[in-house]
């Protein structure tokens, strides 16, 4: 393959492995390439084995790549852990002073990283720059692209530490020179110049933050948890700048119920958490459904169950997201497929919450939160953000935030209470918020009549249940249908969800290249499922494969429950995502 390479770096956390990788990704993207990263974090706070994989290509990159073309190992353990992921005939780079690799089907480039950093540059912490310089020399990303990124990263510390920048540049130079002069290139990986493109480079959580801001999120409450904390931290910083407020809660129950209070106040409100915190929100999410309060809840899934593996990937909260909370509680569940989705679907999530007055659960996952992609800048365009319409005040005030004027002497009230939960064809009732004269009501988790007054009559409970679920029917009709990918005349269909779309599509591409007739469908909205597309797709193929990174086949269960589908379940549950090779294999086995 031309103009494409997948580089994996394995080392010890804290050695600059990850930050070096990030710099390389940005440099490649600025140079005009598409990039896609995958990384693992150690369980320890400091130290511990970590890994960074970067795929660079002149064509859009859909997955992390099955194997590394180039593996850089900073110690023996990294070699042992990662050599299995190196392509046959690939490139191994290491420092002989660290360890001596076993022999194998790979080309080796020994490079004295440590000596260069320590003796020549005389600053050991430039070791990651030495690595970058070697990569530049060996595979092509021009040094200028890298130095530009390094310069902007270090621009802040330039004053306090002027020599740091110099030393970094020196490291890049010396190392590049070393490899070009001392090594004979024996591999075929070489990136050439490509056209520049207008792209941004960011990870899933960063895109989620941009989406929340674009949706004019007014209020965020949250509690730190891996891998959702970045979202909280990003919004803590950004929200005040757009007039929103932020609150770090004492736990997830407080976070979610604070969101309910803010939402009742008319604010577009959200929280972000991961499995354990999401579990604690169950009761309050049920309340949002019952009282018909909009709320956006991000569950950044990590490998479970229980505390599980906080830094590992899994798609195993779907069933729980579909059924969280006792009783029959309608909610919308969406799952982004990539970094671009993290932005657009986030805006959609807010809009759905506001339009249908219910909780919207946004299921991202650990791999996507940390996955850096280069995305066309045009994806991050201004998007419309809606707010539920509040019933007009009788006395003319209709802004959300009332200034208190016009109320001093008294307010005007309808003789009968506001019909907050009036029956409508769509199931969506008129709503209100404090500051709106004549439309006050009491939000309650008790079953209630149209005014919100507690009411236990069988006929009323029945009608209210229908009304609440009617909103999902309305949503299913209004929401866009997912696009089919692949062959129109496919015999094998794959249905996936969440962060695996690109990988599934790459698997489909490979299978098609081998002559299989295959197609894929990847709904973003999992509740309510887009029935029409789902049924059409299922009926159009002979065999359906449902690949999921979980044990129990959670989407497959849902498809069984809804359509009676008996799919081939392909499950991976080791805490790491699928590769396109896994998908290809599943297609071949299903045939």
């Amino acid at each position: 393959m031309e103009n494409e390479v997948t580089i994996r770096i394995g080392g010890e956390s804290g050695e600059g492995t990850i930050s070096g990788g990030d710099i390389l990704a940005l440099a490649a993207a600025r140079w005009g390439y598409h990039v896609y990263t995958f990384r693992t974090f150690p369980a320890e706070i400091l130290g511990g084995p970590c890994m960074f994989q970067l795929r660079i290509s002149d064509k859009p990159v859909k997955s992390m790549g099955d194997y590394a073309d180039v593996l850089i190992c900073l110690n023996r353990e990294a070699f042992d852990r990662n050599v299995g992921e190196l392509r046959h005939g690939g490139v191994l780079i290491y420092d002989p002073s660290d360890f001596t690799p076993d022999s194998g089907d790979f080309i080796t480039y020994p490079i004295p990283f440590n000596d260069i950093a320590r003796k020549e540059v005389q600053l050991f912490q430039t070791k990651n720059m030495v690595m970058m310089g070697a990569i530049s020399g060996l595979f092509g990303p021009p040094l200028e692209a890298i130095t530009q990124v390094v310069e902007s990263k270090l621009s802040k510390s330039r004053k306090s530490n002027p020599t740091l920048m110099e030393k970094n540049m020196l490291a890049l130079d010396i190392s590049k020179k070393y490899v070009t002069e001392q090594l004979t290139k024996r591999d075929a990986y070489q990136l050439g110049a490509v056209e520049k493109a207008d792209r941004v480079v960011l990870n899933g959580n960063q895109a989620v933050i941009a989406g929340a801001l674009m949706a004019h999120c007014d209020f965020f409450a949250g509690y730190p948890i891996t891998p959702a904390s970045d979202i909280m931290e990003g919004l803590a910083k950004e929200l005040p700048q757009i007039g929103g407020t932020f609150m770090q809660a004492e736990d997830e129950i407080a976070a979610m119920t604070a969101v309910l209070g803010a939402s009742f106040g008319g604010a577009r409100s959200m929280t972000a958490t991961s499995g354990p915190g999401f579990a604690l929100m169950s009761e309050a999410i049920g309340y949002a459904s019952m009282a018909e309060l909009p709320a956006v809840i991000i569950d950044a899934q990590r490998a479970g169950p229980s505390t599980g593996m906080p830094t590992k990937m899994e798609q195993s909260d779907l069933s729980f997201a579909l059924y969280t909370g006792h009783g029959d509680t309608p909610r919308i569940v969406v799952a982004p497929a990539d970094v671009a989705d993290c932005y657009t679907l986030m805006v959609d999530a807010f809009n759905m919450a506001e339009r249908y007055q219910l909780p919207v659960i946004f299921l991202t996952d650990q791999s996507l939160t940390a996955r850096v992609e280069s995305v066309d800048r045009s994806v991050f365009k201004p998007l419309e953000s809606i707010r539920r319409t509040f019933v007009l005040a009788q006395n003319g005030s209709n802004g959300m935030v009332s200034n208190g004027n016009g109320h001093a002497a008294g307010v005007v009230e309808e003789e009968h209470a506001f019909a907050r939960y009036a029956y409508t064809a769509s199931g969506i009732s008129p709503t209100s918020a404090p500051g709106h004269g004549g439309s006050s009501y009491v939000s309650t988790g008790l079953e209630h009549d149209i005014h919100g007054h507690p009411d236990y009559e069988p006929a009323d409970h029945t009608a209210m249940m229908k009304k609440r679920y009617q909103k999902l029917e309305t949503a299913a009709n209004e929401l866009p249908q997912p696009q089919r990918y692949g062959d129109e005349d496919a015999t094998i269909g794959l249905i996936g969800w969440g962060s695996t779309e690109g990988t599934i599509q790459e698997g489909v591409d490979r299978a098609r290249a081998k002559g299989y007739k295959v197609a894929a469908l990847h709904p973003r909205v999992l509740s309510p499922l887009p029935d029409r597309s789902m049924r059409d797709f299922i009926n159009s193929v002979q065999t359906v494969i449902v690949p999921e990174c979980n044990y129990s086949g959670q989407l497959a269960n849902l498809l069984g429950a809804k359509y009676g589908l008996q799919a081939i379940r392909v499950n991976k549950y080791g805490g790491i995502p699928f590769t396109a090779g896994d998908i290809l294999q599943a297609i071949e086995e299903a045939n």
């Binding site: 600025r30 941004v200 480079v201 960011l202 960063q206 941009a210 801001l213 674009m214 004019h216 209020f219 409450a221 005040p240 700048q241 757009i242 007039g243 929103g244 407020t245 609150m247 004492e250 129950i253 407080a254 119920t257 604070a258 309910l260 209070g261 803010a262 009742f264 106040g265 008319g266 604010a267 409100s269 009761e283 309050a284 800048r377 991050f380 201004p382 005040a393 935030v401 009332s402 208190g404 109320h407 001093a408 002497a409 008294g410 307010v411 005007v412 009230e413 309808e414 003789e415 009968h416 209470a417 404090p434 500051g435 006050s440 009491v442 939000s443 309650t444 988790g445 007054h453 507690p454």
Partner: protein, 281 residues
């Protein structure tokens, strides 16, 4: 649709929902005190929210003609705090029972104290779980025999005033449902106080644990000489559980979190995605 104009008399804060409480329940007195304090302060019903949890006492918002939020058991405080952070223009009251606020909601109380968000909390303490029919609550006295403690309660009795003072809550008071006028005045002061106001109300449950007669004899007015800026003295007074003092224990004005958070937003501007994304170029 016919309309009437409210004069903001106490009765104008009465909603069309009839209280479901038992005859003689202390919560009636608290409800009246709330009507009165809202009326005295002429609080606009549309800019006032009464938040509660779950319990007999937590039914209260339904009976008040303002906005209301009858939330989940124990969650009145975070709901009220989220609301006030998002809508600092509103007057937010949080009401509920001893079970709601001190048992399942105990953790939230600590953090509401630390945040000092400008809300007013009225706890209707009947030393029992009324709605679930009389089990012990954190404020039940040691030895108390109920269906859940057939051999007598083994835990110590929680002293809400003492703990609130240890948390440096900025307004700490106690009232008694059978002294509705004093109580209304305390609630009024609490609402006017800028910061987290904690009002502990003795409000008997004649159906499951009739403390009315005892409290009528033991409840003691706050010593007139008490300096409400003296937190240590207040703590000492709070230890007098045999003759519970009613009145204001402590008050101390300081920055509230809602205020500080909104000061931060003063430099805010409309979000511009194009500008924002420049950082990821």
């Amino acid at each position: 649709m016919s309309q009437t104009t409210l004069t903001l008399a106490p009765k104008d804060y009465k909603s069309e929902v009839k209280p479901t409480w038992c005859p003689g329940c202390g919560d009636f007195g608290v409800l009246n005190a709330i009507y009165n304090s809202l009326s005295v302060l002429k609080l606009p019903p549309d800019e006032t929210v009464v938040v509660s949890g779950i319990g007999c006492s937590s039914r209260l918002p339904h009976f008040v003609q303002t906005f209301g939020f009858h939330s989940l058991h124990g969650r009145a405080l975070p709901v009220a705090q989220g609301m006030k952070m998002a809508r600092p223009d509103l007057t937010v009251l949080a009401v509920g029972g001893d079970g709601d606020m001190f048992s399942i909601g105990a953790g939230h109380l600590i953090h509401a104290a630390l945040r000092n968000i400008d809300i007013t909390v009225v706890v209707m303490d009947n030393e029992t779980y009324g709605l679930t029919k009389g089990q012990t609550s954190p404020t039940s006295p040691t030895g108390h025999v109920t269906k859940s403690t057939p051999y007598g309660l083994l835990a110590s009795q929680f002293n809400p005033i003492a703990t609130a003072l240890s948390l440096n809550v900025s307004f700490v008071a106690r009232g008694f449902s059978s002294r509705p006028k004093e109580l209304a005045a305390l609630i009024e002061q609490g609402i006017q106080h800028k910061g987290f106001s904690f009002i502990h109300v003795l409000s008997p449950c004649p159906t499951f644990y009739n403390t009315m007669d005892t409290w009528k004899t033991t409840v003691t007015p706050m010593p007139v000489e008490h300096d409400t800026r003296n937190r240590f003295k207040a703590m000492e007074l709070s230890m007098e559980t045999a003759k519970p003092f009613v009145g204001l224990f402590y008050r101390d004005e300081r920055t509230t979190m809602d205020e500080a958070a909104h000061k931060m937003t003063q430099q805010s501007s409309a979000f511009d995605i194009n500008k924002y994304m420049a950082r990821y170029k």
